[in-house]
Amino acid sequence: MNTIHEVIKTLRFTEGQSLLELIYLIASVLFVFGLKMLSKPDTAKKGNLWAAFGMSFAIVGTILFHRVDGEPIRHIPLILLAFAIGATAGWIIARRVKMTAMPQLVSLFNGMGGACAALIALMEFPHIDAAGGVPYGQLITIMPGVMIGTVSFTGSMIAFGKLNGNIGDLRTKALRPVNILLLMIMLSLIVWVMVRPDVHADGHIGAWPVYLLLGLSAIYGVLFVMPIGGADMPVVISLLNSFTGLAAAFGGFLYHNQAMLTGGILVGSAGTILTVLMCNAMNRSLINVIAGAFGGGGAPQTKEAGTVKEISVNDTAVLLAYSKKVIVVPGYGLAVAQAQHLCNEMVKLLEEHGVEVQFAIHPVAGRMPGHMNVLLAEADVPYDKLKEMDEINPELPNTDVVVVIGANDVVNPAAEDDPSSPIYGMPIIRAHTARNIIVMKRGMGKGYADIENFLFYDPKTRMLFGNAKDSLQKLIEEIKNL
């Protein structure tokens, strides 16, 4: 029979500690309910509040009742000060930022959580007492905690910079072997510390492997996200989100803290599923995304581009107002131009002319799944007008005019008929099957996948160049004058 050093001690507890476990239980249940309610449109807002309620419960409970060997939480004024600083900053940032910048913001906050998890693990390492034998349990929670938290932090910061337009893509295949090597080194470092820890005479373990791991993880996080194309950023953020969940769960293991454990694992698994759902929406495998195949591709263009035909605002207005059925395909360009309100205004005008208008939302329209729905909901577009891709595609051949506003890759027919295209196989909104296509665009620039869009050269397509906001403004005037 083996003996276990970690549990051979008298367990002392206070009523408060017992109460705290109950509080953690309630918080965990609230997290589950919150997440469940968040996945239904009707209850989502309440779900968020329930989860927030559970969180405040867990935080207050910890401050009041947490004990280590009977010692209560100290430095409470400092903790409250830090809390006040973080809460104020978080509140202001979250309230002020434009709706188009939401994906960056989620990435930023995710990075903060990752950094927090890494810091905790880092600070716990010197406390490891190996005098009575190496505590493998603590090592195996601290080392991966440092690694995952740090990768999540630097990765999220790069993702933030990319979505914000501060950082470009680094499209090189050379990074792939470097990344794999780096990952191998980090994993072996963890194994090495487990197998041969550098135990000092005073029972502490030499901390240098942790700092080395910290440095390597920081580099890995950067290199991991750098080669991934901007179009895949939502998937990456979702993945990093579940990473941070894992890092939090490792913290839960470390402190035997059930709230951290359940909260972290829930997000870890839910985040992973969400990542897979997003990949499915783009018909791409997670491995492909991580390998940066999108950015690295750049397949040669074989077809002749042909010429594009422009259309005037006046003609567009006439064409739209005398159609029976119009479908709007909004994209990131609409969001960037902040033109969602004008777009809704135009739709209302058209409906007064007896035109049937619907919106076709590609699963990854905008920069994140569901992002476009949020933006259009902000502009009071009725929920039942938003149609998902699979729902709208069969209707497109019977549509008089498709208006593509600031979207590009999601309507690129190359995804269906050009096997050499990097986006081949991605489900698209089949705008090219409609009777007429109007593309509102600032110029002939390429989309996020950086490939030519042959929809623009289709004989049925007319281009209306200009900023989406200006074009829509003029269009509204023209329709009013009809």
Partner: protein
């Protein structure tokens, strides 16, 4: 090898929680409509801010100045994650409120 078994034995209850939570997480969000992907990701993002509990524990039992300083930062970072996450999610969902009767 015995260390592995030791670890499994000591943490047996935690491992149960992990396994069941993984399944629960998958089950809870597997039927989410695409519309809610972004708010859901944001909400989940706020929930993993529970790591702040760990930050409070570290900070609350810190003895050296350096630990207090690091703990202070950890609490700030965790709070940013929690408060920012929930407020952003709320703001996103605010926009769904006025929509008329969704089945």
């Amino acid at each position: 090898m015995s260390e592995v078994f030791e670890f499994l034995y000591v943490n047996r209850e935690m491992l149960f929680i992990v396994a069941l939570s993984v399944l629960l997480g998958i089950e809870v969000i597997s039927h989410v409509p695409a519309v809610l992907h972004t708010p859901l990701m944001s909400g989940a993002n706020a929930i993993h801010g529970v790591v702040i509990v760990g930050a409070i524990i570290v900070m609350g039992h810190a003895h050296s100045t350096s630990a207090i300083v690091l703990g202070f930062f950890a609490v700030i970072l965790g709070t940013l994650n929690v408060v920012g996450g929930f407020v952003v999610t709320d703001r996103m969902l605010e926009m769904f409120r006025k929509k008329p009767g969704k089945k």
